[in-house]
């Protein structure tokens, strides 16, 4: 274990802790991030790259980090791809590097790159194709992917908090704080989201005075005023996406998902002040551990007292590098050289810089202008920088160092989740892209608006906050006051510079996108292959994919692509990043919607009775329905067979409450139903019911059910269980449009009536006994499809004689309060409940549609309902039924099937072919069951009309479950074709 050096920094606490990285123990201070603690102890190699497996260290100090991704914890509960630069350490934390096997020092796959240079763009597409790409899939899958997926999940359930405010400020740097304060002073309600654990942004380490206060004091004073004005400051919280005006913010305290993880914020207007991201400059081997962003080195020093190296070379294209060098020197690091890409004339033009440069030179810093770092030297980490003059053939100078700090300017954070379809414009002054024409309710401020100077950023933020507050019409409080005045670093005077010159061969080691291993050579290949548009280049080379999303690669990528194409970055543009800005765990997205809470479920009044009787429930739409009862058999098959047999022999009861029930009333009700259904409702007599079918407007069957005529102007339509709400919408749609103003209403009465189905030969006698003398006459008078209304135990009861089982059967429509007593009495009278599996057996035996026949592809003609289709009908969907294609021989036809040997099982889903040699299906089995009544397997199937000849044979093919079975085509009605039992 290394000794913990004494460090002091703005984010360090007094305590100490230990953690492990790749099995080794390290010390840290409280408040340390994994990266700051490791760097302080001299650990620079933090992972390998995803494609070439090159050693990588931390490039940045925060959310911009592309390389240092760790797995936290151990399988099965590990969390992959956590940025070491954001991960705040806790005692005993176990961290592992990624993309290496067997170890970080030695990785087998990295030998791949030793062979013959690196894989270029398109390598996989071009190489792993012979004789079939599938042969290589396993190998590639082992090598591909970022990190390792967790096998389990122990993350806390994430609460989702909904917030409303006048102004949402993204980013609590100087511009964001100024904006929030101005908006709050104007009386607006303000929410501020800051992705760092602390507010202040650059002010945290820039030596600056704001309104006469030192940076830290101004931050504290502003936060205090915001709190007093009721603003809400959410730190550790990143706005990850704009969901059409609702912003999703994800909290990751300490870099890991926490308990209150997701905010859904709906502001009236938005100030985007997420700052600007420092951009690297591309040079040969710029991915070596030890190459780091200049601003990151300053952050490590100011926040954690971590010195990222001992001997530094700074490489930049702007004035800021000199002020940074001063601070790094003061922090105890040795700055060997500052390599400035701008020529001496440009650098010297700023007179104010001269004293600082003289001071640095006196401190032993070699100052190069018009030079560039062309390569990092060193196999495992930086050992020296090669420095060459630009524009001349001067010799390369080798400067020994352990760290190269690079800064190529700043790119406004128009981040993935925010910019949506917003345009970006190239700003040559910055060498980056700035927002162009944002919508009115969205103001960019500060660095995010290309204002890189502290004073300008503060003023911009202040103005943006005031404008955003005014846009919401917030009640004016005090005015925003004067914009904050500040003294900080002077403007950077940047000259765009994207990459150092090198030979074409070395372009393979000039890395643009470190996370995805995209090099300058890859861009060249893409162009040679004809991929010119930046979006195509992105897809071909993987530039800016993954969690990187162009944060450090978009601007250099655009500039280098422009250079290779001989155009400007304004012409190439950048690819559009995708939300979320930071990875969001699936657990956070799911929140509490897991397990039973994923969906609401509807329960019938008899639910408790089913559970008490050992019913095994299954969902149907939102409904829970009993499949079978455990008392009747150990599994679904045995229980269903026993239940079905008992219904045919004596009788049984079933819960039909889940049927959709719509009451259609009014003088035009009959005419309305005549339009909505294929057959006529107007011909139903009061007290009678009819089996009816609805069509979609294209002629396909939508649903079927019974329609009861309760009165001249009142009908009750039943729908299938899963379809009730959809059918209600369907009816309402037509009522709201061409039936609007007509005398008809539709009311959903599904929950107002419980339904108990009483089926079997003993159903009538049992009902007579249970309902008592008052119902004797009406029961005796009920013919098939008749119904009678009355009272039972003081509650409304309707008895409908209708059958879905082929047995003499009755539906009792009763008030929910009556359901349980009636159910219990029926059971005491000798009828046992049966479940859906048994009902399916009974339906298949009788040739009734089970459900999978109404698959959204079948017409009434396919289902054998020709009797319902007549010329001259004008109902919905009827016209398109006459399309010729619906009458061709290849259309399906509902048939019954039985095994030729009378024994083999038939399974729904099996494909039907004309014979065992044929592989082209001519139909398939839609539903099947073992019939205890007939002693063999029965099936319903959709078979091509040409083949649907009774007595013919086809082969049912089910290679995964049962192999081939020769089957006979029979009529769909397998049992009691004359319906003698039903009409008894």
């Amino acid at each position: 274990m290394s000794a913990a050096p004494a460090r002091s920094g703005a984010r360090l606490g007094p305590g100490e802790l230990t953690f492990t990285f790749d099995g080794r123990r390290y010390r840290a201070r409280t408040g340390d991030t994994a990266a700051s603690a490791l760097l302080a102890q001299g650990v620079r190699v933090m992972g390998r790259s995803v494609k070439y497996r090159r050693l990588r260290g931390a490039l940045g100090a925060g959310a911009e980090e592309p390389n240092a991704l760790f797995s936290v914890g151990e399988q099965p509960l590990l969390i992959p791809n956590v940025q070491a630069t954001r991960l705040v350490l806790r005692e005993g934390m176990s961290l592992r590097s990624q993309n290496r096997w067997p170890s970080l020092r030695f990785d087998l796959a990295s030998l791949l790159q030793a062979g013959g240079g690196l894989f270029s763009a398109g390598f996989y597409y071009k190489t792993f194709i012979w004789p079939c790409w599938r042969r290589y899939e396993g190998l590639i899958r082992r090598l591909a992917g970022l990190g390792e997926a967790p096998r389990g999940c122990a993350l806390p359930m994430a609460a989702i908090e909904h917030l409303r405010c006048d102004v949402l400020v993204i980013g609590a740097g100087p511009a964001g704080l100024a904006a929030a304060r101005a908006a709050a002073r104007a009386g607006a309600s303000v929410v501020v989201c800051e992705s760092e654990p602390a507010c202040g942004g650059e002010l945290e380490f820039e030596s600056a005075l704001v309104e006469g206060l030192a940076g830290a004091e101004w931050i504290a004073a502003t936060l205090a005023e915001l709190a007093q004005r009721g603003a809400r400051i959410l730190t550790d919280t990143t706005v990850v996406t704009d969901n059409n005006g609702e912003f999703i913010a994800h909290a990751e305290p300490g870099g890991l998902p926490g308990r209150n993880a997701v905010y859904r914020i709906r502001p009236r207007s938005l100030v985007s002040a997420a700052g600007a991201l420092e951009q690297p400059i591309v040079f040969t081997n710029n991915d070596r551990p030890g190459v780091m962003l200049l601003g990151a080195a300053e952050r490590y020093l100011a926040r954690y007292g971590t010195r990222v190296g001992r001997e530094l070379v700074l490489f930049a294209n702007h004035d800021r590098a000199y002020a940074s060098a001063r601070r790094l020197l003061d922090g105890g690091m040795r700055v060997r050289a500052i390599v400035d890409t701008r020529d001496e004339g440009t650098v010297a033009a700023a007179g104010a810089l001269a004293p600082l440069r003289a001071e640095l030179a006196a401190a032993g810093v070699a100052l190069f202008s018009g030079h560039a770092v062309t390569a990092a030297v060193g196999r495992r980490a930086v050992a020296a920088a090669l420095v060459k003059p630009l524009g001349t053939d001067g010799a390369a100078r080798r400067i020994a160092c352990d760290t190269i700090l690079v800064s190529g300017g700043w790119s406004p954070a128009l981040h993935a989740g925010l910019h949506g379809g917003e345009a970006r414009a190239y700003e040559p002054r910055l060498g980056a892209f700035v927002p162009a024409e944002p919508p009115a309710a969205r103001v960019h401020a500060g660095g995010a608006n290309g204002r890189l100077e502290l004073g300008a950023a503060l003023a911009d933020g202040h103005a943006a906050g005031a404008r955003a507050a005014a846009g919401t019409g917030a009640v004016a409080g005090t005015d925003g006051g004067a914009p904050p005045q500040a003294q900080g670093d002077p403007p950077p005077r940047l000259a765009p510079f994207a990459r150092s010159p090198c030979s074409v061969a070395d372009e393979k080691r000039q890395f643009i996108d470190l996370q995805n291993d995209v090099t300058v050579a890859d861009l060249r290949v893409a162009l040679a292959e004809g991929f010119i548009d930046i979006e195509h280049v992105k897809r071909y080379t993987t530039l800016g994919i993954g969690t990187e999303q162009g944060r450090s690669s978009a601007v250099p990528g655009a500039a280098i692509l422009a250079e290779l194409r001989g155009v400007t970055p304004a012409d190439t543009g950048t690819s559009r990043p995708r939300p979320p800005y930071q990875p969001v765990t699936m657990q956070s997205i799911a929140g509490f919607h897991t397990g039973e809470a994923v969906m609401i479920s509807r329960r019938t009044p008899l639910h408790e009775a089913h559970v008490a009787a050992g019913g095994v429930l299954e969902p149907m739409g939102l409904w829970m329905r009993p499949r079978y009862y455990r008392a009747n058999g150990g599994n679904a098959f045995d229980a269903a067979v026993a239940e079905a047999r008992r219904v045919r022999a004596h009788g049984g009861i079933a819960d039909g409450s889940t049927l959709g029930k719509l009451e259609i009333a009014g003088p035009d009700a009959a005419a309305f139903l005549d339009f909505m259904y294929l057959s006529k409702a107007s011909s139903i007599r009061v007290g009678r019911s009819k089996y009816m079918v609805n069509l979609r407007e294209d002629g396909i069957v939508l649903d079927d059910g019974l329609v009861l005529r309760l009165a001249e102007d009142r009908f009750l339509a039943t729908t299938s269980s899963g379809h009730g709400t959809h059918m209600l919408s369907h009816f309402e749609h037509h009522l709201a449009s061409q039936w609007s103003g007509r005398g008809v209403t539709v009311t959903d009465v599904t929950d107002a009536w419980a339904v108990i189905v009483v089926a079997g030969p003993q159903s009538r006698s049992t009902l007579a006994q249970v309902l008592g003398a008052a119902w004797q006459r009406s029961l005796a008078g009920l013919r098939h499809m008749d119904f009678a209304d009355g009272l039972h135990a003081g509650h409304a009861l309707r008895v409908l004689r209708a059958s879905f089982s082929g047995e003499l059967a009755f539906e009792l429509h009763c008030r929910p309060a009556l359901a349980v007593p009636l159910w219990d009495t029926l059971q005491s009278a000798g009828l046992s409940p049966y479940g859906l599996e048994a009902l399916d057996i009974l339906r298949i035996e009788k040739g009734y549609l089970v459900g999978s026949e109404l698959n959204g592809q079948t017409t009434p003609l396919d289902l054998g309902m020709e009797a319902l289709v007549k010329p001259g009908q004008s109902c919905l969907g009827r016209a398109l039924l006459d399309r010729p294609a619906f009458h061709e021989g290849t259309r399906p036809r509902l048939v019954g099937l039985r095994a030729a040997d009378g024994r083999a099982p038939l399974l729904a889903g099996a494909q039907l072919t004309t014979d065992a040699a044929s592989t082209r299906p001519c139909g398939y089995i839609t539903s099947s069951a073992y019939s205890p009544t007939l002693g063999e397997w029965l099936a319903l199937a959709l078979l091509a009309r040409d083949r649907a000849v009774e007595g013919g044979t086809v082969t049912a093919r089910d290679p995964l479950r049962g192999g081939d079975t020769l089957v006979r085509v029979v009529a769909p009605v397998h049992f009691d074709p004359t319906s003698a039992r039903m009409k008894a």
Binding site: N244, E697, A736, S737, Q738, S740, L880
Partner: protein, 81 residues
Amino acid sequence: MTRLTCPFCGPRELCEFEFHKTVPAPGSVDEYARTYLRVADAHLSIEHWQHVGGCRAWLQVQRNPSTGAVLAIDMLAGEPR
């Protein structure tokens, strides 16, 4: 989440609404055209929605599919299809 302004209930989240279809091209007379020929305009889409999670009103929504902007929301009336 996008919000739609229901004429009865005011601005409500999109999840309360259910999309049904876009309206047929104007001048579609025969049943085939009315069922299958829809308008595909990059800047104006006229659609039928229902406020299923609220007042259940059927609405005609005019949107700009290119920007996602909602241009108008009215009660559905007259010809349905």
